[in-house]
């Protein structure tokens, strides 16, 4: 550590696009309190102005700067260099569950398309004549955890169903299960998303490895508090004898829809 409290550190940053690329070393000076995103900005300023980095608030609130730091999915703006060994190069790579655009920037637009497929809030009729609702703080608190989500998509990145199996066409991923949980448990909601979750959103593909929970920068207990309760609801629905009978006779909701009967 130099007298000024700074020292030179090497960063190996992935450079390239969908056709290929490689890790490239950049040396830059780091000082107290710096985060990985600060170092990337210094590299842009000093060595590589065209280094593609997506970021916005630099305060852990917008969820734009997701990447993999030494192999760990992280927000680069909340990755303090003092928590990372600096005696060897710090590796920064793009998320792997999404198509690469360039350098550290990936195409996450799939997430926005998927979200549209989840049925929106359908509130119950207002409780008061002035058109407002009464809600208990405890009911609000129950979904607050899910509503903290900043849509950084790190949970999607680390989920093996998306990352390894690339089942983007049949599984909405942990982020959208958290979104569905926030709606299902919303104090005012009257919509039923259970069939969709089972048939279209692929909740069954999640086998509860909890990798998503581990990487969530907002510390949302994704698996235990969102996905497992949703799975229970879906199962309860499936094993309801009356619903089961309807299904047996008429086929599932999805099959009926495909036959144009619904």
């Amino acid at each position: 550590m130099a007298a000024s409290g700074t020292k030179k550190v090497t960063f190996e940053v992935w450079r390239g696009d969908a056709t290929g690329g490689a890790l490239r070393p950049y040396e830059t000076e780091v000082s107290e309190g710096m985060v990985v995103l600060d170092a990337l900005h210094r590299i842009q300023e000093e060595h590589a102005p065209d280094l593609a980095v997506r970021w916005n608030c630099k305060a852990g609130k917008c969820g734009s700067c997701s990447a993999e730091v030494n192999g760990n999915p992280r927000l680069t703006c909340m990755s303090r260099l003092s928590d990372i060994p600096l005696d060897k190069p710090v590796r920064v790579e793009p998320m792997r569950a999404f198509p690469l655009i360039r350098d550290l920037v990936t195409d996450v637009s799939w997430n926005y398309e998927v979200k549209k497929k989840i049925k929106p809030l359908k509130p119950r009729a207002p409780d008061a004549p002035d058109g407002t609702w009464r809600m208990d703080q405890r009911d609000v608190d129950r979904v607050m955890e899910f509503r903290k989500c900043i849509e950084c998509f790190l949970c999607q990145d680390v989920c093996h169903v998306l990352r390894e199996h690339q089942y983007h066409d049949r599984f909405v991923g942990p982020r959208h299960l958290v979104y569905a949980a926030a709606l299902e448990m919303h104090p005012l909601d009257t919509e039923d998303r259970r069939d969709d979750l089972r048939e279209e959103h692929g909740i069954g593909y999640c086998n509860i490895t909890k990798c998503c929970t581990d990487v969530c920068p907002e510390n949302i207990t994704i698996t235990d508090n969102a996905i497992i309760p949703l799975k229970e609801r879906v199962v309860d629905n499936s094993y309801d004898p009356l619903v089961g009978l309807v299904r047996l006779v008429l086929g599932s909701k999805k099959e009926r829809r495909e036959r144009g009967q619904d």
């Binding site: 000082s31 107290e32 309190g33 997506r54 916005n56 608030c57 630099k58 609130k61 926005y112 979200k115």
Partner: protein, 606 residues
């Protein structure tokens, strides 16, 4: 050159923060075909960073509150330079705008009887801010986003507009590029709404996200629209000061609303020593009374920590200048002390201020339930901006509307905390409504191929710029501008320094013209920053020229050589417009006299 995709809408919204999304929702509800263009991904705009709450006189916590009191508070906070019609509309309509968010899924903290809870904030006479912990902005933008995606709006993410396109006097579209490939887009529209936010990235220490480069201000100005009140830039009193890499990140005023106090290095609550006359009657005269107020005692008056932001920021600077600051050049903000007063204080702090607890723990290794924070002023919010009609939000150019931070009028010389989130709802809704009407009435205009061609050439100029030996990149010029504005057009202003600033802005423009961009058009931040420089330089010049012209101290504008308010200036707004020769012109415009019934409200409430 003319290679571009063309899109056609009735209403084009530029910017997808709270104002843009609220406008888009409204225009879509009116039956318009709506396009939304945003520089970032959807839901990432600066609104996510708003913490404390949204101001609306719901009167859920204190029945003495009403739109009249909210109106009077807003006018007093703005030192009566506000557009009073906007302040009236805002105070009257904010409660409905908040309630309708709840119908779209927003969840606010609750009162014991299940209604929306409201908290205290600086300059508001009663608890008025609907909130959810300290992440109100995220709740609002996510609600608007999740509601908006089912209204049929067509969202173009990571697309940046570089020019507005006109047909005669009227704005009829916009020219843009997409970040991913650098391809050009032409948007034709019956009406265009600017909702691009602020200008904070012109300063080194700021609380703003990278997008805040004055785009809407500059697009409007270049299209011939008038800007107003550019000297009024809010410095939030409490930004983080340590470690250096997080300097400027916001520490919500909610900390003080929950009972947090400001102390100097001697442990003294210095704000008790300098309470402005206009607020003497409303401010506590003992620490005990201040604490009672934060606990909801209706007979008690506000602690001085909840005075307006301009005042608190100046007093912090004074403590630091006089040698009573904290080790890293700020003062101490202490919320941990409330543990002495309430049971389970630690849990209470974590529940009320979870974001702040997380932010300090992660970025500064500091537990706010145990230790005081170090805080100092940070560039936060632009009160000035595009001059609009109070009712319709149309600018001085037909077909061009503005809402949210890039518009102006509501806040006057100083904005009250919580009034920006209500501003973007109230005037976002109005802009959407009136833009849809305008588009319906006037249809699409004609976009000139020549304009499109010239816009494309200008956007590509940075790839061709630079003489022999030119090595400067856009990041270095932005950093130079930020350092200079911080030093020369900061909180306390002198004419000598502002004049130097204007000269340096002119030099920086030359340097910006000569920037060479490396690489190609695909997701190239060097190129994007080069294009943003024009906007940053334009708003910087606007701030400097207005700051030089206003020879008084009022609200967020403080002059070293004119330290007092001047009644004559109290009736004047400064208007800026691009002259025929391309130079920025500044003119004084007298304010419109208050309507008698509104005047009576101010006289009654004070």
């Amino acid at each position: 050159m003319a290679d571009h995709q063309t899109h056609e809408f009735d209403v084009l919204v530029i910017g997808a923060g709270g104002a843009g999304l609220r406008a888009a929702v409204e225009a879509a509800a009116a039956g318009a075909r709506v396009g939304v263009v945003c520089k970032s991904l959807l839901g990432k705009a600066h609104t996510v960073m708003a913490e404390g709450g949204v101001a609306a006189a719901l009167s859920n916590v204190d029945e003495r509150d009403s739109w009249r009191v909210h109106f009077a508070d807003t006018m007093r906070g703005g030192q009566y330079l506000n557009n009073w019609r906007m302040a009236e509309i805002h105070a009257q309509e904010a409660p409905d705008r908040v309630r309708e968010l709840e119908a779209w899924g927003a969840l606010f903290d609750r009162t014991p009887d299940g209604r929306i809870l409201q908290r205290n904030f600086g300059g508001h006479a009663y608890p008025r801010l609907a909130h959810v912990g300290d992440r109100t902005g995220l709740e609002m933008i996510r609600t608007l986003q999740d509601h908006g995606i089912h209204t049929g709006m067509d969202v173009h993410m990571e697309v940046t507009v570089t020019r507005l396109l006109k047909d005669g006097d009227r704005v009829v579209g916009a020219f843009a590029y997409d970040r991913e490939k650098g391809r050009f887009r032409v948007f034709k529209a019956g009406a265009v709404i600017l909702a691009t936010g602020g200008v904070g990235r012109a300063y080194k220490i700021n609380s703003n996200s990278w997008e805040y480069t004055g785009d809407g201000h500059t697009l409007a100005y270049d299209a011939g629209a008038e800007l107003q009140d550019m000297e009024f830039l809010q410095f939030h009193p409490t930004g983080m000061v340590w470690p250096p890499s997080v300097r400027g990140i916001l520490v919500t005023e909610g900390v003080r609303g929950e009972g947090g106090v400001l102390r100097n290095s001697e442990g003294r609550r210095f704000l008790f020593d300098s309470i402005p006359d206009a607020y003497k009657d409303q401010t506590a005269d003992s620490e005990e009374e201040g604490w009672s107020y934060c606990q909801g005692d209706k007979a008690a008056r506000r602690p001085p920590e909840l005075l307006t932001r301009d005042h608190v920021a100046r007093m912090i600077l004074k403590e630091v200048a006089e040698g009573r600051g904290s080790p890293h050049g700020g003062v101490f903000l202490d919320i941990a002390w409330i543990k002495e007063r309430i049971p389970n204080g630690e849990e209470h702090i974590k529940r009320k201020l979870p974001g702040m607890h997380h932010q300090f723990k992660e970025l500064a290794d500091l537990d706010i339930t145990q230790e005081p924070m170090e805080v100092g002023p940070t560039t936060h919010y632009m009160m000035g901006g595009i001059r609009v009609d109070a009712d319709s939000q149309m600018s001085t150019v037909p077909g061009l509307f503005a809402a949210g931070e890039c518009g102006t009028g509501l806040h006057g010389a100083n904005r009250l905390g919580g009034n920006s989130l209500s501003d973007l709802l109230v005037f976002g809704q109005r802009a959407g409504q009136f833009a849809a009407e305008f588009a319906k009435k006037n249809g699409l205009g004609r976009v000139s191929e020549d304009d499109v061609k010239r816009s494309g050439q200008a956007a590509l100029a940075p790839f061709e710029g630079g003489g022999p030996g030119q090595t400067e990149n856009a990041f270095q010029i932005q950093a130079a501008l930020q350092d200079m504005m911080q030093e020369k057009v900061g909180i306390i202003r002198s004419p000598e320094l502002i004049k130097e600033a204007l000269e340096e802005i002119a030099e920086l423009r030359h340097r910006a013209d000569a920037v060479v961009v490396e690489g190609n058009r695909e997701y190239n931040p060097g190129w994007h920053t080069a294009l943003d420089l024009h906007n940053l330089l334009t708003v910087s010049e606007g701030i400097a020229r207005a700051a030089l012209a206003r020879e008084e101290s009022r609200g967020a504008h403080t002059r070293q050589d004119f330290t007092e308010k001047d009644p004559e200036w109290g009736g004047v707004n400064l208007i800026m417009v691009k002259g025929k020769d391309g130079a920025m012109q500044v003119r004084r415009e007298p304010t419109t006299p208050l309507r008698p019934d509104l005047k009576a409200i101010i006289e009654e409430i004070g």
